[in-house]
Symmetry: C2
Subunit: 422 residues, 2 copies
Amino acid sequence: MQRVSVDEFRRSGLAMVVPVSGVESIPLGDASSRISSREVRSRLPLPWFRRSAVDGYALRAEDAKLPLTVVAKVTAGRPTDRVVGPGEAVEITTGAPMPEGADAVALVERSRRTGDTVVIDEPVGPGAHVSPVGEDFGVGQLLLATDAPVTPIVVASLASQGQEMVEVWRRPRVAILSTGDELMPLGSELSHGQVYDVNGAILEAMVREAGGEPVRVPPVADRYEDVRDRLRALIADPEWDILVSSGGTGASIPVFEGRDIRTLHDLIPGVAAELGELIHHGIRMSPGRPTALARIGQRPFFALPGWPYAVLVHFEMLVEPAIRRAAHRPPRVRRPVVGRLSSPIPAMPDFTWVIQARFEPGEEGVPSVIPLLPPPPPSASRVMTQMLEADGILIVEADEPLATGTSVTVWTDPQDPAGGSW
Amino acid sequence: MQRVSVDEFRRSGLAMVVPVSGVESIPLGDASSRISSREVRSRLPLPWFRRSAVDGYALRAEDAKLPLTVVAKVTAGRPTDRVVGPGEAVEITTGAPMPEGADAVALVERSRRTGDTVVIDEPVGPGAHVSPVGEDFGVGQLLLATDAPVTPIVVASLASQGQEMVEVWRRPRVAILSTGDELMPLGSELSHGQVYDVNGAILEAMVREAGGEPVRVPPVADRYEDVRDRLRALIADPEWDILVSSGGTGASIPVFEGRDIRTLHDLIPGVAAELGELIHHGIRMSPGRPTALARIGQRPFFALPGWPYAVLVHFEMLVEPAIRRAAHRPPRVRRPVVGRLSSPIPAMPDFTWVIQARFEPGEEGVPSVIPLLPPPPPSASRVMTQMLEADGILIVEADEPLATGTSVTVWTDPQDPAGGSW
């Protein structure tokens, strides 16, 4: 099977995703950053009653030049039934409902009160300081569009309608499967040769950040039959929308004992091809060339390699866009920072090379970009340390080496405090 | 009391905040974006055993030129006790523990196997394709600093230690108090003149976004005695860190009946001055000049005006920085977008004017910025509609009017999809 480009792999993954159709009705207070599953329009205009915009006296504008008799008082939430007649005024506070008969409000600071009589010191036109019904919005105003996020302002607009609940898309459920005999759950004691399931933990955290709901599945051993049984069970299980595995995508001795490995795909892709449809196996990307994409149980299955850095990068570049589409979310925003390379990067023709990078202060305010290249073999890599030290990633597609001083873009988290604030 | 600048008000608020000292131990899978309360260093090196970086044969490098006898097989998670002697090799897979006696691994693709004998086709140096203990990091490596956010990479590094739980600062508890006789809970039936508690809903959503835990308190009526009783109860209640109210900061007729309003602060600030210490009342900022800051029960109390737009802006500019400091978080990141004004903005000398703004495509790729100015009196304002339409806010400090075409900065949400993606 031919290795495909990052773009082709990502497009294939996105094309397989069906945005979730399930809906949840949740309390407004818990809805921040969830995605609306249907548009909401106003049922109540805002304001829904004619109200005063200031503290003062409600009156008939035509009477404002006369001394007026104060016949009642209304405050916010405490209306009056008294109709304002000729020569009369009603004391009124900001936000209080206008009494019938009055068509304007005179400002308290432009009035003189003596007992029950008030004199207004300036002309008052009809409608002055009165908010008519629907001044802010009328019935049928769009408050929340389908597929839009619930922001604090949306919360406010729905609250103005008295709405306690809001309908949002359920989060896509992403099943997470780690493969390897050596994997042990966190908190357990390790025997010689065993390690903790780091990839499961990375994927769980990243699925949440992408707006998905992680569904952890116990790790499966590196044996064809075990993997096949597990994938069969997953195919029969309707409780996931997208499946992501880590490990088992490269040829391995114990897996294919007695088989001709040239006619078989590797472990996970091989089982996926047997039980479903293998779309891609191999991507022109470093790290993580043996990543695979399949369709099993009518759903997308991303089979990532086992190295944590490959899991991180492939998730961000291939899986996260799919989860976000399933969640009715736009692609995630990254903050591009331009800097100059502090050391060269070798060519890797026809490949997308994702390299972690750190910033240091550079000349003329342009940051210096330190590429954290993997060490050459025979060493394996200090990937976890590099990931902890990195400020962002470089995406390099270079047929020629990049020289020191080349201008490059590092993609960073927009929430990074270095991003700036007002 | 003198109106102060936005900067002075914000600095006073920040100075009153004590970062929370309470700690929670939570499962790693729930910790994304929480803030670490103490540094974590590695107890286990990574890898914690000598392992193979490839599939191949573990051997003594000095023997690699000889035909070797394959005496055992190790796979990840399945070590062997067999010590590799002279002329011997052990079949090994990626990540599997190196057997004793062997000091190098030969690649499977550079070997020929016949029965129990294997011939290696290239020279193999000592240490080739072996990851020594601690190659990635040793014991004592900093995995998570105090006050740093728990990112997916941090989750991965803690998972490599088998750590199931992580200690984070508890979220600061922010009590939310709305004032007004007219306020009704969401979902209730409204009588004439009543409205829903929009500000309570905005504040709840924004407190959550700031990393706080909202504590809703029932609304209180606009009466001095009611407010005093409620604040007294809050002072006796240890279950909040910051108090935020909306409404009741401007002079109001029913409140001060029978009092001399020139010697009293307004409702909420007046009660705060009686029961605690009033630090500021009045800010040179539009919207929302009568905002107040007080200390009650040894804690900061932000008394915001009642207009939803003022609540939104004052929360973002004054209260959110305080909540984030209490939460041990850096200031929130905003994305500045530079554009050109599509219409003039009048001067407002010595004031900070916060204006909502919308973008439209402009000339030469520079967006056109449409300032959403409040309509002039006698109208009240279409603030909710403007908030729903705005793409960001302008912060204007202009002694002179700003002409059409002036270059201005609009502050937007860095998560806005218009921000760009790779």
